[in-house]
């Protein structure tokens, strides 16, 4: 059940993961014997093409961060293959490398951590934090090192003089930028972003997401973007993979996955997101119960305990991840027969006008009635559909999204 698509030339693939497993032992008793296994990641397959962003989503405890770390061998994988296309060495099997070989490959694979507060050493200046990978790999020293650090700080939107300050002097968003600068220091090919924006405020989150997108374009980066926020993942990813209790349950192009999900779990996840639209209040179909424990996963399909469509076969037989549509993999027995609900395409954003000084000057001199703009039609109707703002001509700030034809 390889996920390798025949359409993808092997050369285009930067990273391929085959049957990756990471089990953590549970010890117990006087002799600390291994009494069980937490199957955090239990056989996942995916690939990432050069220059693309693969989003990896799932609830907490589904193994998505473990998968990201196992790829870098920050956790030693239990089983499976991790094939990385190194620019100098060609395809290397990360899981087989010795420590020395790994050190030579790792500059090309970097990681940005979730918590911008605990991932920076409070006793090192920002300059030293960013310089550390350069020093360890003996890439630069002296003036060249200082210049490179200054350059990196500028690239991520900070100022070179920030190098002499300590992390505590920075806000969460700025710290995350420092973390990104450190990851960029060695000109990597692949960056694993482990929930890089989940600790940030919405406005700062937007800044960091835009920065990541800019950097991707500028430096031709490939991202594995691990996150639990589906709207963020949709925004940044080319393709999305959904994990549930250590398995991949679905993987497809972003648009396809969000609009045409093929796995009931994806449908439930998408349905649970609170929509930022007060006129479209809805009650998501509640998923009963909790995520099963990876130490004691259910038999058959992992999702059958909570799945509204579960049937007898789901309890006994685990569905493999298979290509149900071209380029769309799902692990469900009934993908073909179920008609699952995705996200409706968003035709417009309610907010598309920013008041500008001219309009207001007019308003202040004249009568203010004209100022309540056309977006406000019929507050009483409580319709389930946001109104079209076609008539709101004043804006033109370019944020309105046209319906896809």
């Amino acid at each position: 059940m390889t996920t390798e698509s025949s359409a993808v030339a092997p050369d285009d693939v930067l990273l391929e993961v085959r049957n990756l497993k990471k089990h953590f032992p549970i010890t117990g008793g006087l002799l600390r014997r291994v009494v069980g296994q937490v199957k955090a990641v239990d056989g996942i397959n995916f690939f990432i093409k050069k220059g693309e962003t693969l989003g990896l989503v799932g609830e907490s405890g589904c193994g998505k961060s473990t998968a990201g770390r196992a790829i870098l061998r920050l956790h030693e994988p239990t089983d499976g293959e991790i094939i990385f296309n190194d620019p100098k060495r060609g395809q290397v099997h990360i899981e087989d490398l010795s420590f020395g070989e790994l050190k030579a490959v790792r500059p090309n694979m970097q990681i940005v951590f979730q918590d911008p507060f605990s991932s920076l050493d409070p006793r090192m200046t920002v300059g030293r934090i960013i310089a550390e990978p350069l020093v360890i790999n003996k890439v630069a020293s002296g003036r060249a090192l200082r210049d490179r650090v200054a350059e990196l700080l500028t690239v991520v939107g900070l100022r070179p003089e920030h190098a002499s300050r300590y992390p505590h002097a920075f806000s969460g968003g700025q710290r995350q930028r420092i973390g990104i600068a450190r990851a960029l220091a060695l000109n990597p090919k692949l960056i694993i972003c482990d929930e890089p924006v989940s600790a940030l405020d919405v406005s700062v989150q937007a800044q960091v997401l835009n920065l990541l997108e800019d950097l991707q374009e500028q430096f031709d980066l490939t991202y594995l973007f691990v996150a639990h926020d589906l709207s963020v993942v949709e925004h940044i990813s080319d393709r999305v993979a959904v994990m549930y209790v250590g398995y991949l349950v679905e993987m497809a192009d972003t648009e396809e996955l969000y609009h045409n999900p093929q796995h009931p779990y994806t449908e439930a996840l998408l349905g649970a997101i609170p929509k930022p639209d007060p006129r479209n209040r809805h009650r998501p179909t509640r998923l009963p119960g909790d995520v099963p424990s990876p130490a004691n996963p259910p038999t058959g399909c992992l999702f059958h305990t909570r799945c509204p469509y579960a049937q007898d076969v789901c309890v006994t037989e685990r569905p493999p991840l298979r290509e149900v549509l071209p380029g769309h993999w799902a692990a469900c027995h009934f993908s073909e027969t179920l008609r699952l609900k995705g996200v409706p395409r968003l035709n417009e954003i309610p907010v598309d006008t920013m008041p500008d000084a001219n309009a207001v000057a007019q308003m202040q001199s004249g009568h203010g009635q004209s100022q309540s703009n056309a977006t406000h039609n019929g507050p009483g109707d409580g319709g389930s559909r946001p109104p079209t703002t076609g008539s709101t001509g004043t804006g033109g700030t370019g944020i309105t999204i046209r319906p896809k034809s």
């Binding site: 907490s60 700062v204 929509k275 954003i349 008041p355 000084a357 999204i401």
Partner: protein, 374 residues
Amino acid sequence: MADPVANTGSTATTPDGGVDNLIQVENLEVRFYTQVGVVRALNGVDFNIPRGQVLGVVGESGSGKSITGLSIMQLVPRPGRVEGGRILYKDKPDSKTINILDLGRQSDEMRAIRGDDIGMIFQEPMTSLNPVFKVGAQIQEAILLHQTPNKQEAWDRAVDILDKVGMPNARRVANSYPHELSGGMRQRAMIAMALSCSPNLLIADEPTTALDVTTEAQILSLMRDLQSEIGTSIMFITHNMGVVAQMCDEVAVMYLGRIVERATVDDIFYDPKHPYTISLLRSIPRLGQKRGQRLEVIKGGVPDPYSTVTGCPFHPRCPSFMPGLCDTVLPIEAFIEGKTNHTVRCHLYPGCTPDSDQAVTGVSGTIPTTSKAQ
């Protein structure tokens, strides 16, 4: 009615003065006296929570949302102090109004209100539950304090309320310790504790921020059920605009210790006025939005809390910044023309720019302009 309401000054009498407000906060000021300097956490906050309604309080971290909630509970942590204003609380529609701030922090009256009349759900369920007591015992404690002296009855009610918040096998959960529960279950236990005495007001401080979407959906639908069942008013503190849209009746947008816009949830999303509100709404990635669409960002960050910003606190980041006005004069809160429940604090709108004489008499008397404070 459509008059600019600048003359109401900063006390901002409730737009619908006749409405039965459970809580009415007037000109609340909180400062933190730290060794490094004074942090002006709240600079004159006015709002009201009508009985049975859900008020959303949104804003970035550092905007004073949580401190507003804690002030109502009289739980502002040291070295913070409530420096001014009133928090008027009305137990029942016909009962006497009391100013919570007149009660001593540890007085019997305050203790009777705290937990009984006003409940609070904290953001982090793990740190807010005591790890060495059983979940049931912690809920029982609140019931014993406020409702009944009978231990067995209190325990039964604790189990009942756990059942009510959708806890599977409530009896077993009541007998387990917090570490044995998952994040969603812990948060439900917190909600159960806050609801154990059927409070008039529930202050929910980012109750779902640490949770997954599926659990979040469960908690939100639970809170909605309980709200319609018990008739509790909710003050919902969050920065998730999706949650606001789904849950709230009215919204107050906060920035740097001031409310910059107040309106119904529909107006906030479909007719927002303050540039900050607009920017905030634009910066969220929306589902269904095409990839490659750049997110609009608010330039810069929330200013350092120790510094003071002259004029409108949002002016350094504002896309509609008007030099000479926004950076010198603090806008006052005024109603949007033709609306009785939509106020904004921005020079772009008539009535928000104080006349020079008003600035001397009415306004700066109650809201200290930051320029003066320098």
